[in-house]
């Protein structure tokens, strides 16, 4: 039996396909359309999933949509009503989308896929999140916590999963939303909502949380993690363009203009920012205030997530926790949950945001609605498309650069390690691309983390991203505890998905400076031999050669673009950047003298 899960029309559209309850394929639409955070109907992702399963759409047994559109529509109408006439802009914008597309999801799924109406199922947004968190976890029972911007009405939910059932018992409803609170600060700090939240998280360690008491004025937090926003400070519920009010600005000062380079006295001022301004010190002082605000909202967010996690555990009477929703991608908060709550085991699947709800909807249909027992654990992220060997050969034949086709695995690993040791920055394309927003060694850019200048080199030659954002380390799970304070690394699957930030051991910081953030932390990816054998062997081989089994791993894309999928896209990115070598399966392409 085949169940297709679909999410779309908000951000990060995606599709996931189960065969008899086991995941066959899952992918976000942006990987195919090349539109970052593409929210349109995921026709390409669906076609990929069906192709991977080898079935036509008409053979689908069920199609599960990740939310209940009519309840969401009701929320938007009620919000417009309650905030009229200020909501005129939101109303006009929302109605266009809803009347043209979103209300007709069922018809669209039926007409596109040829599936009868009774086989199209709808799962509530946070139930989809909860299902994606628990039903593919390794736990028989666990507490569940889902936190995001907003679904239909729910913004936060707690519940319990047991066997093939899950129950969400409590919730917090719109407009009170931790995701929207964080997004309001993201916009205030000059970043794009649903895109710049990582930047706020990266900026936070450069600041001092001296505005925490001011943040507490805009959100009241209960001891059990329940919270309420003071809506005098927010306009996201009635304005299509602004998420905070003038009162918010009176509290925190003027917002940071979008698009301006961010730097402080303690960050770099990279060459791609242009010439250093004459009033550098004055601008750095002003930016320091923004870094302090970022540190403050991050600190309050962590406090709220920790309180909610404790509440979810207490309600469920469990020491295991499954999390999902966009806030579950806040890897700093996740690391603190492991260190500072009674949690013994934590599970978050790699696409914890809205794209992952496609998987959740399919799992919910299979297990909860249809009653099938569990048996599938999502323990790796490689559920996308593989590089086509013909496309690799085509790229190699026409690239005009030095090409080496490695006859053996040993040769591939030795040659790649040699390049890394000599300071090369390498594009690494292996196996099926990742499910979720993180590059985990399938579509990655790799470098030597021992080099103090590696972060600068990757930033200036390739990524052109803000200098305060850290790069992540990949480490074989057996070696993780030598470098990072992760407790029992093998026990925590979120570590495989780069969803935990942990302190770098003080004695290890000088050995891996390029992946140690300014506060001594790192967003670690642990690599297991049974899941990613080639990547695991590469890091291990690098460790044998250098004594440091760690690689710098960042996503294989240029700024503003989705992560690459195909060999052609990888070569295009390679050509337009300062990368030194490109490894496509067993083919190595090197710029300049090889």
């Amino acid at each position: 039996m085949h169940v297709l899960g679909v999410s779309c029309y908000f951000h990060d559209a995606a599709a996931a396909l189960l065969r008899d309850g086991v995941l066959v394929a899952a992918a976000e639409e942006e990987r195919f359309s090349r539109v970052k955070h593409d929210f349109s109907f995921p026709s390409r992702a669906i076609a990929f999933c069906l192709g991977r399963a080898g079935i036509p759409a008409r053979e689908l047994d069920y199609v599960a949509f990740f939310e209940k559109p009519l309840i969401k529509f009701e929320r938007i109408l009620q919000t417009s009503l309650a905030t009229a006439p200020r909501s005129a802009g939101v109303f006009r914008q929302a109605m266009t989308g809803w009347l043209l597309d979103k209300l007709w999801v069922k018809s669209l799924l039926r007409s596109t896929l040829g599936v009868p109406a009774e086989r199209v199922l709808f799962c509530e947004h946070h139930e989809s999140h909860a299902a994606s968190a628990f039903l593919c976890s390794p736990f028989d029972e666990a507490a569940i916590l889902t936190v995001d911007g907003v679904g239909e009405w729910t913004t936060t939910a707690v519940g319990t999963g047991r066997g093939n059932d899950l129950r969400l018992s409590e919730e917090i409803r719109f407009p009170h939303s931790l995701g929207l609170l964080y997004s309001a600060f993201t916009a205030f700090l000059g970043f794009e909502v649903n895109e710049g939240e990582y930047k706020v998280m990266g900026m936070a360690p450069y600041g001092t949380p001296r505005f925490v008491e001011d943040v507490r004025k805009v959100v009241t937090i209960g001891p059990d993690g329940a919270f309420a926003l003071d809506l005098d400070y927010f306009s996201f519920h009635y304005s299509p363009t602004r998420t905070f009010t003038p009162r918010f600005e009176r509290l925190f000062g003027p917002p940071r203009p979008p698009g301006l380079p961010f730097f402080t006295e303690s960050t770099e001022f990279p060459a791609y920012y242009g010439d250093k301004p004459g009033n550098f010190r004055e601008l750095a002082r002003e930016n320091q205030r923004y870094a302090d605000i970022a540190a403050s909202i991050q600190a309050v967010t962590e406090e709220m997530v920790l309180a909610m996690a404790r509440h979810a555990l207490a309600r469920a009477g469990s020491s295991r926790l499954c999390m999902a929703g966009g806030v579950a991608l806040n890897s700093v908060a996740n690391g603190r949950i492991l260190r500072e709550t009674p949690v013994t085991d934590l599970y978050i699947q790699p696409a914890a945001g809205d794209s992952g709800a496609a998987l959740g909807a399919a799992l919910h249909a299979w297990h909860v609605v249809l009653g099938h027992p569990r048996g599938f654990v999502l323990d790796h992220a490689g559920w996308g498309a593989e590089p086509d060997p013909g496309a690799i050969e085509d790229v190699a034949a026409h690239c005009g650069l030095a090409v080496e086709r490695c006859a053996s695995e040993e040769r591939l690993l030795d040659r790649t390690v040699d390049l890394l040791q000599h300071g090369a920055v390498i594009g690494w394309v292996q196996g099926r691309f990742e499910w979720g927003p993180r590059a985990l060694g399938h579509r990655s850019i790799l470098a030597d983390p021992r080099r103090t200048d590696a972060k600068h080199v990757v930033n200036t030659k390739i990524k052109f991203r803000e200098p305060y954002r850290p790069f992540a380390p990949s480490v074989p799970v057996e070696h993780a505890a030598e470098y990072f304070e992760l407790g029992e690394p093998a026990r925590h699957l979120p570590g495989r998905f780069m969803l935990l930030v942990a302190p770098v051991r003080p004695e290890a910081r000088a050995r891996i400076p390029a992946v140690t953030h300014v506060d001594g932390s790192a967003r670690v990816q642990t690599v297991a031999a049974e899941c990613d054998s080639r990547y695991y062997n590469l890091i291990s081989r690098f460790g044998e050669a250098t004594g440091v089994p760690v690689l710098l791993n960042t996503s294989f894309n240029l700024r503003g673009e989705p992560i690459v999928s195909t060999p052609q896209e990888a070569f295009s990115t390679f050509s337009r950047s300062g990368m030194d070598a490109l490894v496509l399966d067993r083919t190595i392409i090197v710029k300049g003298p090889s």
Binding site: L81, A82, F174, V368
Partner: protein
């Protein structure tokens, strides 16, 4: 253009008067401004039966 016009007529003919009429109940609404007491709300809906899962609402 026609759709836009219909939307605006709908908006002003229906939503704005309703909004003002409902002002009295707004003090109890979730959009009320000012500090509020945070609380978890009991969740009542479930979609685990096939009939419910087939519905968009």
């Amino acid at each position: 253009v026609q759709s836009a016009a219909v939307l605006w007529v709908l908006y002003y003919a229906m939503l704005v008067p309703l909004a003002y009429l409902s002002r009295a109940s707004r003090s109890r609404s979730p959009w009320r401004a000012g500090a509020r007491r945070p609380a978890w709300l009991a969740r009542t809906t479930r979609t685990d039966d096939l009939l419910s899962a087939r519905r968009q609402f």
